[in-house]
């Protein structure tokens, strides 16, 4: 079976622009979580969706939003990009809400804001 896939792999944006990142979970997984990882730090939780409903939200501004589609894929949107948004964005899927069971991570999207 295919693992978690994310697109695009790399992205360069300018301050003030908007970006959409995409994630496809492992087949059968109904929970998707998004993380931001700044260089040298651990992943920071942004959102979790389960069965298309938001189940958790981390300490991120309203510029960050996400949604989950009926096929359980997910999008992360970031508006009004700041230089500090430059990071590796990781998507993880699990069968049930993250934490109860192991998460499977995608390779990430490297976002650079200039």
């Amino acid at each position: 079976d295919a693992g978690v896939t994310q697109s695009p792999t790399h992205l360069i944006k300018t301050r003030g622009q908007q970006v959409t990142l995409r994630c496809s979970p492992i087949s059968g997984h109904k929970s998707v979580s998004w993380y931001q990882q700044v260089l040298g730090q651990g992943p920071q939780f942004i959102f979790q969706y389960y069965e298309k409903e938001e189940r958790g939200r981390g300490n991120f501004p309203d510029r960050f939003s996400a949604r989950q589609f009926p096929n359980y894929s997910s999008e992360l949107n970031v508006n009004a990009l700041l230089l500090g948004d430059s990071a590796l964005y990781l998507c993880a899927s699990s069968y049930t809400p993250a934490g109860s069971y192991e998460q499977y991570f995608g390779p990430g999207t490297r976002l650079t804001v200039t």
């Binding site: 993380y35 040298g40 990781l90």
Partner: protein, 112 residues
């Protein structure tokens, strides 16, 4: 602040030696997970240990959990150069909404 904090921040050993890294956390947890990350890529799940468990093994990996001390350790025996990676612990806080919180990680370098 991070719920889980790994120690040491960096560890450098020779192939064949054992590597031990620790994770401390602040509040009661449901479970604790260890992950590995190679060169800024996606994380790979290693072991999940639940709060009512004290030790788990997986191949060359051994994880212990001491809930009274709010700490966990990951032991990699007979390390290999391929074990070179960053290792993170992630805790799931009791009463929380199943959100794993990651520490800053331990950077392990295994010299051939």
């Amino acid at each position: 602040s991070q719920q889980g904090e790994e120690d040491p921040q960096a560890l450098s050993i020779q192939e064949g030696e054992n590597a031990t890294m620790n994770c401390s956390y602040k509040t009661s947890i449901n479970n604790l997970q260890w992950y590995r990350q190679n060169s800024g890529r996606g994380l790979v799940h290693l072991i999940l240990i639940r709060s009512n468990e004290r030790e788990k093994h997986s191949g060359r990996l051994r994880v212990t959990l001491d809930t009274s001390k709010k700490s966990s350790s990951l032991l990699i025996t007979a390390s290999r150069a391929a074990d070179t990676a960053s290792y993170f612990c992630a805790t799931d806080v009791t009463g929380g909404s199943y959100i794993p919180t990651f520490g800053r990680g331990t950077s392990l370098i295994v010299h051939p």
